[in-house]
Protein backbone atom coordinates (compact mmCIF):
# COMPACT_ATOMS: atom_id res chain seq x y z
CA UNK A 1 0.00 0.00 0.00
CA UNK A 2 1.30 3.42 -0.94
CA UNK A 3 2.00 5.69 2.03
CA UNK A 4 3.94 8.64 0.71
CA UNK A 5 4.35 9.97 -2.79
CA UNK A 6 6.18 12.97 -4.20
CA UNK A 7 5.14 14.77 -7.38
CA UNK A 8 7.88 16.79 -9.15
CA UNK A 9 9.25 17.75 -5.74
CA UNK A 10 12.09 20.27 -5.52
CA UNK A 11 13.90 20.61 -2.23
CA UNK A 12 16.26 23.28 -0.90
CA UNK A 13 16.49 26.38 1.23
CA UNK A 14 15.09 29.85 0.70
CA UNK A 15 13.51 29.01 -2.65
CA UNK A 16 16.83 27.78 -4.03
CA UNK A 17 16.49 24.19 -5.11
CA UNK A 18 19.29 21.76 -4.33
CA UNK A 19 17.59 18.83 -6.02
CA UNK A 20 14.65 19.08 -8.40
CA UNK A 21 12.02 16.87 -9.91
CA UNK A 22 11.90 14.08 -7.36
CA UNK A 23 9.15 11.57 -8.15
CA UNK A 24 9.18 8.68 -5.72
CA UNK A 25 6.85 6.71 -3.52
CA UNK A 26 7.16 4.94 -0.20
CA UNK A 27 5.10 1.79 0.27
CA UNK A 28 4.19 -0.32 3.24
CA UNK A 29 7.01 -2.73 4.04
CA UNK A 30 9.61 -0.90 1.92
CA UNK A 31 13.12 -0.54 3.20
CA UNK A 32 14.90 2.12 1.21
CA UNK A 33 18.41 3.53 1.43
CA UNK A 34 19.18 7.08 0.47
CA UNK A 35 22.74 7.38 -0.77
CA UNK A 36 24.91 10.19 -2.01
CA UNK A 37 27.89 12.29 -1.02
CA UNK A 38 27.70 14.77 1.87
CA UNK A 39 26.03 17.96 0.79
CA UNK A 40 23.98 16.30 -1.94
CA UNK A 41 20.75 17.04 -0.04
CA UNK A 42 19.97 13.88 1.93
CA UNK A 43 19.28 15.72 5.18
CA UNK A 44 17.39 18.38 3.25
CA UNK A 45 15.08 15.69 1.92
CA UNK A 46 14.49 14.37 5.45
CA UNK A 47 13.80 17.87 6.72
CA UNK A 48 11.35 18.42 3.90
CA UNK A 49 9.53 15.16 4.58
CA UNK A 50 9.35 15.96 8.31
CA UNK A 51 8.01 19.45 7.36
CA UNK A 52 10.88 21.20 9.14
CA UNK A 53 11.41 23.09 5.88
CA UNK A 54 9.00 23.71 3.03
CA UNK A 55 9.45 22.21 -0.41
CA UNK A 56 10.73 24.71 -2.98
CA UNK A 57 8.08 23.42 -5.38
CA UNK A 58 6.09 20.28 -6.06
CA UNK A 59 3.95 18.15 -3.85
CA UNK A 60 4.30 15.58 -1.07
CA UNK A 61 1.28 13.37 -0.53
CA UNK A 62 0.72 11.29 2.56
CA UNK A 63 -2.06 8.75 2.13
CA UNK A 64 -3.26 10.75 -0.85
CA UNK A 65 -3.53 14.01 1.06
CA UNK A 66 -1.14 16.96 0.81
CA UNK A 67 1.39 16.70 3.66
CA UNK A 68 0.98 20.35 4.66
CA UNK A 69 -2.73 19.78 5.27
CA UNK A 70 -1.94 17.59 8.27
CA UNK A 71 -1.89 19.38 11.62
CA UNK A 72 1.15 18.91 13.86
CA UNK A 73 -0.36 16.17 15.95
CA UNK A 74 -1.66 14.05 13.08
CA UNK A 75 1.58 14.43 11.16
CA UNK A 76 3.42 13.27 14.27
CA UNK A 77 1.37 10.08 14.14
CA UNK A 78 2.44 9.43 10.54
CA UNK A 79 6.17 9.98 10.41
CA UNK A 80 8.85 9.34 13.04
CA UNK A 81 12.44 10.49 12.70
CA UNK A 82 15.78 9.42 14.13
CA UNK A 83 18.57 11.96 13.70
CA UNK A 84 22.33 11.54 13.42
CA UNK A 85 23.00 13.75 16.43
CA UNK A 86 21.97 12.24 19.73
CA UNK A 87 20.34 14.55 22.26
CA UNK A 88 22.93 15.17 24.96
CA UNK A 89 23.06 16.29 28.54
CA UNK A 90 19.61 15.11 29.51
CA UNK A 91 18.96 13.49 32.85
CA UNK A 92 15.90 11.59 31.75
CA UNK A 93 15.30 7.91 32.25
CA UNK A 94 15.35 5.82 29.08
CA UNK A 95 11.67 5.05 29.67
CA UNK A 96 10.94 8.80 29.71
CA UNK A 97 12.82 9.37 26.44
CA UNK A 98 10.89 6.57 24.75
CA UNK A 99 7.71 7.94 26.35
CA UNK A 100 8.33 11.15 24.39
CA UNK A 101 7.36 9.08 21.35
CA UNK A 102 3.90 8.81 22.87
CA UNK A 103 3.55 12.61 23.02
CA UNK A 104 1.16 12.78 20.04
CA UNK A 105 -1.19 10.38 21.86
CA UNK A 106 -1.10 11.58 25.48
CA UNK A 107 -3.00 14.42 27.16
CA UNK A 108 -1.51 17.85 27.91
CA UNK A 109 0.24 16.58 31.03
CA UNK A 110 1.80 13.67 29.15
CA UNK A 111 0.07 11.12 31.37
CA UNK A 112 0.76 7.59 30.15
CA UNK A 113 -2.06 5.04 30.11
CA UNK A 114 -1.71 1.25 29.93
CA UNK A 115 -1.47 1.28 26.14
CA UNK A 116 1.34 3.86 26.26
CA UNK A 117 3.25 1.89 28.88
CA UNK A 118 2.84 -1.24 26.79
CA UNK A 119 4.06 0.46 23.60
CA UNK A 120 7.13 1.77 25.44
CA UNK A 121 8.02 -1.68 26.72
CA UNK A 122 7.43 -3.37 23.36
CA UNK A 123 9.48 -0.75 21.51
CA UNK A 124 12.44 -1.21 23.81
CA UNK A 125 12.16 -4.99 23.45
CA UNK A 126 12.12 -4.70 19.65
CA UNK A 127 15.42 -2.81 19.60
CA UNK A 128 16.83 -5.14 22.25
CA UNK A 129 17.24 -2.44 24.88
CA UNK A 130 14.70 -3.46 27.53
CA UNK A 131 17.54 -3.90 30.00
CA UNK A 132 18.20 -0.15 29.74
CA UNK A 133 14.70 0.96 30.71
CA UNK A 134 15.62 2.46 34.08
CA UNK A 135 19.02 3.85 33.08
CA UNK A 136 19.64 7.59 32.74
CA UNK A 137 19.88 8.42 29.02
CA UNK A 138 23.02 10.49 29.52
CA UNK A 139 25.00 7.52 30.83
CA UNK A 140 24.44 5.37 27.73
CA UNK A 141 26.95 4.63 24.98
CA UNK A 142 26.41 6.03 21.47
CA UNK A 143 25.05 2.73 20.20
CA UNK A 144 22.68 2.40 23.14
CA UNK A 145 21.44 5.98 22.71
CA UNK A 146 20.83 5.16 19.05
CA UNK A 147 18.71 2.15 19.98
CA UNK A 148 16.69 4.22 22.45
CA UNK A 149 16.00 6.90 19.85
CA UNK A 150 14.84 4.21 17.43
CA UNK A 151 12.63 2.81 20.20
CA UNK A 152 11.22 6.33 20.57
CA UNK A 153 10.36 6.35 16.86
CA UNK A 154 8.76 2.90 17.14
CA UNK A 155 6.72 3.99 20.17
CA UNK A 156 5.52 6.90 18.05
CA UNK A 157 3.67 4.21 16.11
CA UNK A 158 4.01 5.79 12.67
CA UNK A 159 3.71 4.05 9.30
CA UNK A 160 6.95 5.75 8.22
CA UNK A 161 10.27 5.94 10.05
CA UNK A 162 13.12 8.01 8.64
CA UNK A 163 16.66 7.70 9.94
CA UNK A 164 19.46 10.10 9.05
CA UNK A 165 22.76 8.18 8.87
CA UNK A 166 21.83 5.73 11.62
CA UNK A 167 25.05 3.75 11.24
CA UNK A 168 27.41 6.72 11.45
CA UNK A 169 28.76 6.05 14.96
CA UNK A 170 28.47 2.27 15.02
CA UNK A 171 31.03 -0.50 14.73
CA UNK A 172 30.58 -3.24 12.12
CA UNK A 173 28.62 -5.79 14.21
CA UNK A 174 26.31 -3.05 15.48
CA UNK A 175 25.75 -1.89 11.92
CA UNK A 176 24.59 -5.35 10.92
CA UNK A 177 22.41 -5.54 14.00
CA UNK A 178 20.84 -2.19 13.13
CA UNK A 179 20.22 -3.08 9.49
CA UNK A 180 18.57 -6.34 10.55
CA UNK A 181 16.37 -4.41 12.96
CA UNK A 182 15.31 -1.97 10.24
CA UNK A 183 14.54 -4.84 7.91
CA UNK A 184 12.51 -6.53 10.63
CA UNK A 185 10.53 -3.33 11.20
CA UNK A 186 9.78 -3.11 7.49
CA UNK A 187 8.90 -6.74 6.93
CA UNK A 188 7.20 -7.68 10.21
CA UNK A 189 5.66 -4.37 11.30
CA UNK A 190 4.89 -3.33 7.71
CA UNK A 191 6.48 0.07 8.22
CA UNK A 192 8.10 2.06 5.45
CA UNK A 193 11.74 2.63 6.41
CA UNK A 194 13.85 5.29 4.72
CA UNK A 195 17.41 5.86 5.88
CA UNK A 196 20.56 7.49 4.59
CA UNK A 197 23.84 5.64 4.71
CA UNK A 198 27.30 5.42 3.20
CA UNK A 199 27.68 1.70 3.87
CA UNK A 200 27.21 0.59 0.28
CA UNK A 201 27.98 -3.07 0.74
CA UNK A 202 25.65 -3.51 3.72
CA UNK A 203 22.77 -1.46 2.43
CA UNK A 204 22.71 -3.45 -0.81
CA UNK A 205 22.28 -6.56 1.27
CA UNK A 206 19.39 -5.24 3.33
CA UNK A 207 17.35 -2.88 1.17
CA UNK A 208 14.78 -3.25 -1.59
CA UNK A 209 15.32 0.13 -3.20
CA UNK A 210 18.04 2.72 -3.36
CA UNK A 211 17.53 6.43 -3.92
CA UNK A 212 20.62 8.12 -5.26
CA UNK A 213 21.34 11.80 -4.75
CA UNK A 214 24.42 12.88 -6.62
CA UNK A 215 26.45 16.08 -6.35
CA UNK A 216 25.28 17.25 -9.76
CA UNK A 217 21.73 17.73 -8.46
CA UNK A 218 20.35 14.57 -9.98
CA UNK A 219 18.02 12.19 -8.27
CA UNK A 220 17.48 8.58 -9.21
CA UNK A 221 15.52 5.75 -7.67
CA UNK A 222 15.53 2.06 -8.43
CA UNK A 223 15.71 -1.49 -7.16
CA UNK A 224 18.98 -2.08 -5.35
CA UNK A 225 20.19 -5.00 -7.42
CA UNK A 226 19.11 -3.46 -10.71
CA UNK A 227 21.01 -0.27 -10.01
CA UNK A 228 24.02 -2.40 -9.29
CA UNK A 229 23.57 -4.62 -12.32
CA UNK A 230 23.21 -1.88 -14.89
CA UNK A 231 26.23 -0.01 -13.57
CA UNK A 232 24.47 3.06 -12.21
CA UNK A 233 25.82 2.60 -8.69
CA UNK A 234 29.29 2.07 -10.15
CA UNK A 235 29.05 5.33 -11.98
CA UNK A 236 27.70 7.40 -9.06
CA UNK A 237 30.10 6.04 -6.50
CA UNK A 238 33.10 6.00 -8.85
CA UNK A 239 33.60 2.36 -7.97
CA UNK A 240 36.68 0.55 -9.21
CA UNK A 241 35.96 -2.42 -11.45
CA UNK A 242 37.03 -4.99 -8.89
CA UNK A 243 34.87 -3.42 -6.16
CA UNK A 244 31.88 -3.39 -8.45
CA UNK A 245 32.47 -7.01 -9.38
CA UNK A 246 32.76 -7.88 -5.72
CA UNK A 247 29.39 -6.27 -4.96
CA UNK A 248 27.85 -7.93 -8.00
CA UNK A 249 28.92 -11.41 -6.98
CA UNK A 250 27.76 -10.82 -3.41
CA UNK A 251 24.33 -9.46 -4.25
CA UNK A 252 23.23 -11.33 -7.31
Amino acid sequence: MEILKTKSLSIGYNDKAIVSNINVSLNEGDIIALVGPNGAGKSTLFKTFSTHIKPVSGLIELFGKNLNQYDNKNRAKMLGIVLTERPDDIFLKVSDVVAAGRAPYTNMFGKLNDIDEHEIKVSLELVGANNLIDRIFNTLSDGEKQKVMIAKAIAQNTPIIMLDEPTAFLDYPSKIELFSLLKKLAKEQRKAILFSSHDLELLLRFTDYVWIMAKNQTFMAGKSNELLKNGILKEYFNLKDEDNDFLLTKNM
Binding site: K47, S50, T51, H52, N72, K73, R75, A76, K77, L79, G80, I81, L83, E85, P87, I90, F91, L92, K93, D96, V97, A100, G101, A103, P104, T106, M108, F109, G110, I136, K152, Q156
Partner: protein
Protein backbone atom coordinates in the same frame (compact mmCIF):
# COMPACT_ATOMS: atom_id res chain seq x y z
CA UNK B 1 16.11 8.45 41.77
CA UNK B 2 13.52 6.34 43.52
CA UNK B 3 10.11 7.75 44.31
CA UNK B 4 10.62 7.47 48.06
CA UNK B 5 13.85 9.42 47.88
CA UNK B 6 12.10 12.13 45.88
CA UNK B 7 9.33 12.43 48.45
CA UNK B 8 11.83 12.60 51.30
CA UNK B 9 13.80 15.24 49.39
CA UNK B 10 10.74 17.39 48.76
CA UNK B 11 9.57 17.02 52.37
CA UNK B 12 13.02 18.09 53.54
CA UNK B 13 12.96 21.21 51.37
CA UNK B 14 9.49 22.13 52.59
CA UNK B 15 10.50 21.69 56.25
CA UNK B 16 13.60 23.77 55.69
CA UNK B 17 11.42 26.42 54.04
CA UNK B 18 9.04 26.54 57.01
CA UNK B 19 12.00 26.96 59.34
CA UNK B 20 13.38 29.79 57.20
CA UNK B 21 9.97 31.44 57.11
CA UNK B 22 9.70 31.43 60.90
CA UNK B 23 13.28 32.68 61.25
CA UNK B 24 12.35 35.50 58.89
CA UNK B 25 9.68 36.57 61.34
CA UNK B 26 11.91 36.95 64.36
CA UNK B 27 15.30 37.94 63.01
CA UNK B 28 15.85 41.64 62.35
CA UNK B 29 17.08 44.81 63.93
CA UNK B 30 14.60 44.18 66.75
CA UNK B 31 15.01 40.63 67.99
CA UNK B 32 11.77 39.02 69.06
CA UNK B 33 11.75 35.75 70.98
CA UNK B 34 9.98 32.62 69.74
CA UNK B 35 7.47 32.79 72.52
CA UNK B 36 6.46 36.32 71.68
CA UNK B 37 6.19 35.53 67.99
CA UNK B 38 3.74 32.75 68.62
CA UNK B 39 1.82 34.97 70.99
CA UNK B 40 1.58 37.60 68.27
CA UNK B 41 0.68 35.10 65.58
CA UNK B 42 -2.01 33.55 67.76
CA UNK B 43 -3.29 37.02 68.69
CA UNK B 44 -2.57 36.65 72.44
CA UNK B 45 -0.27 39.61 72.41
CA UNK B 46 -1.49 43.15 72.78
CA UNK B 47 1.84 44.90 72.36
CA UNK B 48 1.16 47.30 69.46
CA UNK B 49 4.79 47.67 68.35
CA UNK B 50 5.38 43.94 68.11
CA UNK B 51 2.16 43.49 66.19
CA UNK B 52 3.17 46.18 63.73
CA UNK B 53 6.68 44.81 63.29
CA UNK B 54 5.44 41.32 62.59
CA UNK B 55 2.19 41.83 60.70
CA UNK B 56 3.05 44.99 58.81
CA UNK B 57 6.70 44.40 58.08
CA UNK B 58 8.15 40.96 58.56
CA UNK B 59 5.25 38.77 57.49
CA UNK B 60 4.57 40.58 54.19
CA UNK B 61 8.31 40.73 53.52
CA UNK B 62 8.70 36.99 54.06
CA UNK B 63 5.68 36.30 51.85
CA UNK B 64 7.09 38.57 49.15
CA UNK B 65 10.42 36.75 49.27
CA UNK B 66 8.64 33.40 49.08
CA UNK B 67 6.58 34.33 46.02
CA UNK B 68 9.31 36.27 44.23
CA UNK B 69 11.81 33.46 44.78
CA UNK B 70 9.45 30.85 43.34
CA UNK B 71 8.56 33.06 40.38
CA UNK B 72 12.12 33.96 39.40
CA UNK B 73 13.37 30.39 39.81
CA UNK B 74 10.65 28.99 37.53
CA UNK B 75 11.14 31.81 35.03
CA UNK B 76 14.84 30.85 34.89
CA UNK B 77 14.09 27.15 34.44
CA UNK B 78 11.76 27.92 31.52
CA UNK B 79 14.43 30.06 29.83
CA UNK B 80 17.15 27.44 30.31
CA UNK B 81 15.07 24.70 28.74
CA UNK B 82 13.69 26.88 25.93
CA UNK B 83 17.12 28.15 24.91
CA UNK B 84 18.89 24.88 25.73
CA UNK B 85 21.41 26.99 27.55
CA UNK B 86 22.40 26.45 31.19
CA UNK B 87 23.33 30.13 31.51
CA UNK B 88 19.98 31.44 30.36
CA UNK B 89 17.91 33.43 32.81
CA UNK B 90 14.99 35.85 32.57
CA UNK B 91 17.34 38.82 32.11
CA UNK B 92 18.20 37.39 28.69
CA UNK B 93 14.84 38.49 27.42
CA UNK B 94 15.71 42.05 28.30
CA UNK B 95 12.76 42.16 30.69
CA UNK B 96 14.67 43.50 33.70
CA UNK B 97 16.36 46.06 31.48
CA UNK B 98 12.95 47.06 30.15
CA UNK B 99 11.70 47.47 33.71
CA UNK B 100 14.78 49.51 34.60
CA UNK B 101 14.19 51.73 31.61
CA UNK B 102 10.57 52.26 32.65
CA UNK B 103 11.62 53.16 36.17
CA UNK B 104 14.46 55.27 34.79
CA UNK B 105 12.06 57.25 32.64
CA UNK B 106 9.71 57.91 35.56
CA UNK B 107 12.32 58.68 38.21
CA UNK B 108 14.76 60.56 36.06
CA UNK B 109 12.42 62.44 33.76
CA UNK B 110 10.12 63.65 36.54
CA UNK B 111 13.07 65.40 38.06
CA UNK B 112 14.19 66.88 34.80
CA UNK B 113 10.72 68.09 33.85
CA UNK B 114 9.28 69.24 37.17
CA UNK B 115 12.58 70.22 38.71
CA UNK B 116 11.70 68.33 41.90
CA UNK B 117 12.98 64.90 42.91
CA UNK B 118 10.52 62.00 42.54
CA UNK B 119 10.84 61.14 46.21
CA UNK B 120 9.19 64.47 46.98
CA UNK B 121 5.98 63.11 45.48
CA UNK B 122 5.68 60.69 48.39
CA UNK B 123 3.21 57.82 48.08
CA UNK B 124 2.63 58.46 44.38
CA UNK B 125 6.25 57.82 43.63
CA UNK B 126 6.17 54.20 44.85
CA UNK B 127 3.07 53.39 42.81
CA UNK B 128 4.59 55.23 39.88
CA UNK B 129 7.80 53.22 40.10
CA UNK B 130 6.02 49.85 40.20
CA UNK B 131 3.79 50.83 37.34
CA UNK B 132 6.69 52.17 35.28
CA UNK B 133 8.71 49.00 35.88
CA UNK B 134 5.76 46.86 34.88
CA UNK B 135 5.04 48.84 31.71
CA UNK B 136 8.73 48.82 30.75
CA UNK B 137 8.93 45.06 31.29
CA UNK B 138 5.72 44.37 29.37
CA UNK B 139 6.79 46.51 26.40
CA UNK B 140 10.01 44.53 26.07
CA UNK B 141 8.08 41.30 26.59
CA UNK B 142 5.72 42.19 23.73
CA UNK B 143 8.65 42.98 21.46
CA UNK B 144 10.23 39.62 22.32
CA UNK B 145 6.94 37.81 21.72
CA UNK B 146 6.67 39.42 18.32
CA UNK B 147 10.14 38.18 17.46
CA UNK B 148 9.59 34.70 18.85
CA UNK B 149 6.43 34.21 16.81
CA UNK B 150 8.51 34.77 13.67
CA UNK B 151 11.83 33.18 14.51
CA UNK B 152 12.35 29.47 14.90
CA UNK B 153 16.04 29.62 15.78
CA UNK B 154 16.64 29.89 19.51
CA UNK B 155 20.17 31.27 19.21
CA UNK B 156 18.88 34.15 17.10
CA UNK B 157 16.25 34.78 19.73
CA UNK B 158 18.82 34.90 22.57
CA UNK B 159 20.91 37.40 20.64
CA UNK B 160 17.88 39.60 19.97
CA UNK B 161 16.96 39.47 23.67
CA UNK B 162 20.48 40.46 24.73
CA UNK B 163 20.58 43.28 22.20
CA UNK B 164 17.25 44.66 23.45
CA UNK B 165 18.64 44.48 26.99
CA UNK B 166 21.71 46.48 25.94
CA UNK B 167 19.58 48.96 24.07
CA UNK B 168 17.29 49.53 27.07
CA UNK B 169 20.15 49.93 29.51
CA UNK B 170 21.98 52.34 27.23
CA UNK B 171 18.89 54.54 27.03
CA UNK B 172 18.68 54.34 30.83
CA UNK B 173 22.30 55.48 31.05
CA UNK B 174 21.64 58.40 28.75
CA UNK B 175 18.69 59.41 30.94
CA UNK B 176 20.87 59.15 34.04
CA UNK B 177 23.38 61.51 32.49
CA UNK B 178 20.78 64.28 32.36
CA UNK B 179 19.24 63.67 35.80
CA UNK B 180 19.24 65.16 39.28
CA UNK B 181 21.57 63.66 41.85
CA UNK B 182 18.77 62.69 44.28
CA UNK B 183 16.93 60.91 41.52
CA UNK B 184 19.92 58.89 40.47
CA UNK B 185 20.24 57.84 44.08
CA UNK B 186 16.61 56.74 44.16
CA UNK B 187 17.11 54.81 40.94
CA UNK B 188 20.22 53.05 42.23
CA UNK B 189 18.37 52.02 45.40
CA UNK B 190 15.51 50.56 43.33
CA UNK B 191 18.07 48.70 41.24
CA UNK B 192 19.46 46.93 44.30
CA UNK B 193 16.24 45.05 44.85
CA UNK B 194 14.17 44.63 47.98
CA UNK B 195 11.41 42.38 49.28
CA UNK B 196 10.06 45.11 51.55
CA UNK B 197 8.30 47.16 48.89
CA UNK B 198 5.13 45.08 48.57
CA UNK B 199 3.70 45.33 52.07
CA UNK B 200 0.19 44.41 53.09
CA UNK B 201 -1.60 46.87 50.85
CA UNK B 202 -0.22 45.54 47.57
CA UNK B 203 0.09 41.92 48.70
CA UNK B 204 -3.23 40.58 47.33
CA UNK B 205 -2.53 41.79 43.78
CA UNK B 206 1.09 40.68 43.92
CA UNK B 207 0.27 37.23 45.34
CA UNK B 208 -2.56 36.52 42.91
CA UNK B 209 -0.55 37.67 39.90
CA UNK B 210 2.37 35.45 40.85
CA UNK B 211 0.13 32.48 41.65
CA UNK B 212 -1.47 32.68 38.19
CA UNK B 213 1.94 32.56 36.51
CA UNK B 214 3.20 29.71 38.69
CA UNK B 215 0.04 27.71 38.08
CA UNK B 216 0.31 28.22 34.32
CA UNK B 217 3.91 26.97 34.34
CA UNK B 218 2.75 23.58 35.63
CA UNK B 219 1.02 22.97 32.29
CA UNK B 220 4.29 23.27 30.37
CA UNK B 221 5.99 20.16 31.75
CA UNK B 222 5.14 17.81 28.87
CA UNK B 223 6.32 20.17 26.14
CA UNK B 224 9.45 21.16 28.05
CA UNK B 225 10.39 17.49 28.41
CA UNK B 226 9.96 16.93 24.68
CA UNK B 227 12.08 20.01 23.99
CA UNK B 228 14.98 18.41 25.87
CA UNK B 229 15.39 16.08 22.89
CA UNK B 230 16.12 19.05 20.65
CA UNK B 231 14.07 21.16 18.27
CA UNK B 232 13.92 18.68 15.40
CA UNK B 233 12.68 15.84 17.57
CA UNK B 234 10.23 18.09 19.41
CA UNK B 235 8.80 19.30 16.14
CA UNK B 236 8.53 15.76 14.81
CA UNK B 237 6.61 14.80 17.95
CA UNK B 238 3.93 17.34 17.07
CA UNK B 239 5.18 20.40 18.95
CA UNK B 240 4.54 23.75 17.29
CA UNK B 241 7.95 25.32 17.95
CA UNK B 242 6.99 28.96 17.48
CA UNK B 243 3.74 28.80 19.42
CA UNK B 244 5.45 26.89 22.18
CA UNK B 245 8.25 29.43 22.53
CA UNK B 246 5.72 32.27 22.55
CA UNK B 247 3.87 30.60 25.45
CA UNK B 248 7.07 29.90 27.40
CA UNK B 249 8.40 33.43 26.90
CA UNK B 250 5.01 34.83 27.87
CA UNK B 251 4.87 32.96 31.18
CA UNK B 252 8.52 33.44 32.06
CA UNK B 253 8.43 37.11 31.07
CA UNK B 254 5.17 37.73 32.91
CA UNK B 255 6.56 36.31 36.16
CA UNK B 256 9.76 38.31 35.80
CA UNK B 257 7.85 41.49 34.99
CA UNK B 258 5.69 41.24 38.11
CA UNK B 259 8.59 40.50 40.44
CA UNK B 260 10.72 43.25 38.93
CA UNK B 261 7.90 45.75 39.17
CA UNK B 262 7.42 45.13 42.90
CA UNK B 263 10.89 44.15 44.09
CA UNK B 264 13.32 45.62 41.58
CA UNK B 265 15.60 43.61 39.31
CA UNK B 266 16.68 40.63 41.39
CA UNK B 267 19.58 38.80 39.86
CA UNK B 268 20.80 35.27 40.16
CA UNK B 269 17.78 33.47 41.60
CA UNK B 270 16.55 32.64 38.10
CA UNK B 271 19.96 31.47 36.94
CA UNK B 272 21.04 29.44 39.96
CA UNK B 273 17.95 27.70 41.32
CA UNK B 274 17.25 25.37 38.37
CA UNK B 275 20.83 24.10 38.61
CA UNK B 276 20.40 23.30 42.28
CA UNK B 277 17.09 21.54 41.57
CA UNK B 278 18.60 19.43 38.78
CA UNK B 279 21.60 18.60 40.93
CA UNK B 280 19.64 17.64 44.04
CA UNK B 281 17.15 15.44 42.21
CA UNK B 282 19.42 14.23 39.39
CA UNK B 283 16.66 14.72 36.88
CA UNK B 284 15.67 16.82 33.87
CA UNK B 285 12.04 15.72 34.13
CA UNK B 286 10.03 18.94 34.27
CA UNK B 287 7.07 17.28 35.97
CA UNK B 288 9.42 17.12 38.95
CA UNK B 289 11.71 20.05 38.18
CA UNK B 290 9.04 22.77 37.98
CA UNK B 291 7.59 22.27 41.49
CA UNK B 292 10.99 21.53 43.01
CA UNK B 293 12.54 24.64 41.43
CA UNK B 294 9.70 26.70 42.89
CA UNK B 295 10.34 25.31 46.37
CA UNK B 296 14.09 25.84 46.15
CA UNK B 297 13.55 29.37 44.85
CA UNK B 298 11.32 30.10 47.85
CA UNK B 299 13.93 28.78 50.26
CA UNK B 300 16.75 30.69 48.64
CA UNK B 301 14.85 33.99 48.64
CA UNK B 302 13.86 33.53 52.29
CA UNK B 303 17.44 32.70 53.17
CA UNK B 304 18.82 35.73 51.31
CA UNK B 305 16.23 37.97 52.95
CA UNK B 306 17.31 36.61 56.33
CA UNK B 307 20.97 37.33 55.65
CA UNK B 308 20.17 40.81 54.38
CA UNK B 309 18.37 41.55 57.64
CA UNK B 310 20.73 40.03 60.19
CA UNK B 311 20.88 42.00 63.42
CA UNK B 312 23.77 44.41 63.45
CA UNK B 313 23.29 45.24 59.80
CA UNK B 314 20.62 47.67 60.96
CA UNK B 315 18.23 47.85 58.07
CA UNK B 316 18.44 45.92 54.84
CA UNK B 317 21.42 44.98 52.75
CA UNK B 318 20.59 45.14 49.05
CA UNK B 319 19.07 41.77 48.10
CA UNK B 320 21.04 41.64 44.87
CA UNK B 321 24.33 41.68 46.76
CA UNK B 322 23.19 38.76 48.90
CA UNK B 323 21.69 36.60 46.11
CA UNK B 324 24.88 36.73 44.07
CA UNK B 325 27.11 36.31 47.12
CA UNK B 326 25.32 33.11 48.10
CA UNK B 327 24.25 31.92 44.66
CA UNK B 328 27.54 32.14 42.78
CA UNK B 329 29.54 29.73 44.97
CA UNK B 330 26.60 27.32 45.00
CA UNK B 331 26.44 27.23 41.20
CA UNK B 332 30.20 26.77 40.90
CA UNK B 333 30.18 23.85 43.33
CA UNK B 334 27.17 22.22 41.68
CA UNK B 335 28.74 22.44 38.23
CA UNK B 336 32.11 21.18 39.44
CA UNK B 337 30.46 18.19 41.13
CA UNK B 338 28.48 17.37 38.01
CA UNK B 339 31.56 17.36 35.81
CA UNK B 340 33.13 14.55 37.84
Amino acid sequence: MKNRKIIIGIAGIILFGIMLFILNLFVGSVTISFKEIFKVLLKYNTDKTLNIIIFDYRLPQALTALLAGAALAVAGLLMQTLFRNPLADPSMLGISSGASLGVGIVILLTGAISGAAVSSFGWWSTIGVSLAAFIGAIVVLLVMLAFSSRIKNMTTLIIIGLMIAYLASSITDILKFFSLKEDIHAFVIWGMGSFSGVGNSKMPVFAISIAIGLFASLFLAKNLNIMLLGEMYAENLGLNIKRNSVIIILISGYLTAIVTAYCGPIAFVGLAMPHIARFLFKSSDHRLLIPVTMLIGMNMALFCNLIARLPGLDGNLPINAVTAFIGAPVVISVIMKRKK
